[in-house]
Symmetry: C2
Subunit: 195 residues, 2 copies
Amino acid sequence: MKHQLILKNISRFITLNQKEQDLYISLLTEKKIKKKDFLLRKGEIARYDYFISKGCLKIYNIDHKGSEHITMFAVENWWSGDMASFITQQPATYFIQALEDSEVLQISKENFDLLFEKIPKFERFYRILYQRSLVTYIQRSDQNISLSAEDRYLNFVKKYPSLVNRVSQKNIAAYIGVTAEFLSLLRKKIAENLN
Amino acid sequence: MKHQLILKNISRFITLNQKEQDLYISLLTEKKIKKKDFLLRKGEIARYDYFISKGCLKIYNIDHKGSEHITMFAVENWWSGDMASFITQQPATYFIQALEDSEVLQISKENFDLLFEKIPKFERFYRILYQRSLVTYIQRSDQNISLSAEDRYLNFVKKYPSLVNRVSQKNIAAYIGVTAEFLSLLRKKIAENLN
DNA sequence: AGAGAAAAATAATGTACATTAAGAAATTAC
DNA sequence: GTAATTTCTTAATGTACATTATTTTTCTCT
């Protein structure tokens, strides 16, 4: 079944009966996206929030100097979107781009609002989902300020081992907040110290 | 009335009738705390989540080198706590300390869980509160990685003008992620450039 | 009000990282 | 399947910030 993964994801926090499941699924649309294509570009209004069924995407912004900073990598079973733009319907500050051919389930802002009316249980689902995301972002925000680039890289490897060989070093560098050149140097140093 | 502020805060997102208001208030306890005292120390279990009725506190951690990093300043009408520890009931990674004599309303973990059972509307309140916090933390996390210390300071001044003269430069430095010495230098440079 | 403590300013030196540039290796595309 | 593009490596030089130390200013306490 096509919606197995998303329903299982939701069942972590709330229980839906068959009718609720059907209603929920009717609010979603599927979308396939080719590697390098964009789900969203800076300046556009984020009309959708996404659940990744397959593939890998990055959500990033470009600073005033033209450097790319990756906020998160989104893989199967993750939620993603430009939350600020989606909620406020103001222009996005982020790009969302596929790193592999990917498949997502998207919910429009209208249907998102409708969802809470029709199935109030989803307030609870998102309350818990956001609570957990907050813990992650608070930690990451602290780490970005208190750890050296080397420690941020080692943390990344420890926390997301499967991503290390799935996304390019250039992208990992943009995630941990260093240049690709410096990350290359760090990796050499780390490899040498292991001998 | 003592609970005016918190009720008004909650009414931003949900409407409570008199009975619900009374029930909610019965789940809270008041606490006064002197300047420099702690609501929570690293290693303790966070038994409470806090609403600040009066005063100013900081939530911070100490890194492996002994440096202090401030996650947030909490003033009147703000919510605060070590969310990870409060939710999971595992040892806290943060300290919460009063920067002024302060008054808080606290809710215990047991009452927090009870709240959602008794008044499910609170799922919605926290869903929206967390959603908004997430937007803030995602932005801050990006800024910590992409902006220079000078820009982070200028952003702080712009975003929290009332805090600039309320908390010490040492604390502002610990919030934006630089040493007090370097912030002092930045301020001098900024002041010179204004002439 | 005056002593002691903490915060802030200034300055010298050190280091983690950026920038620039060039070549080698890997991927992509026709 | 080879050219073109992108990624990765290496190295030289530059800069934003840390560290340490000293002095001055402000705050705290009795």
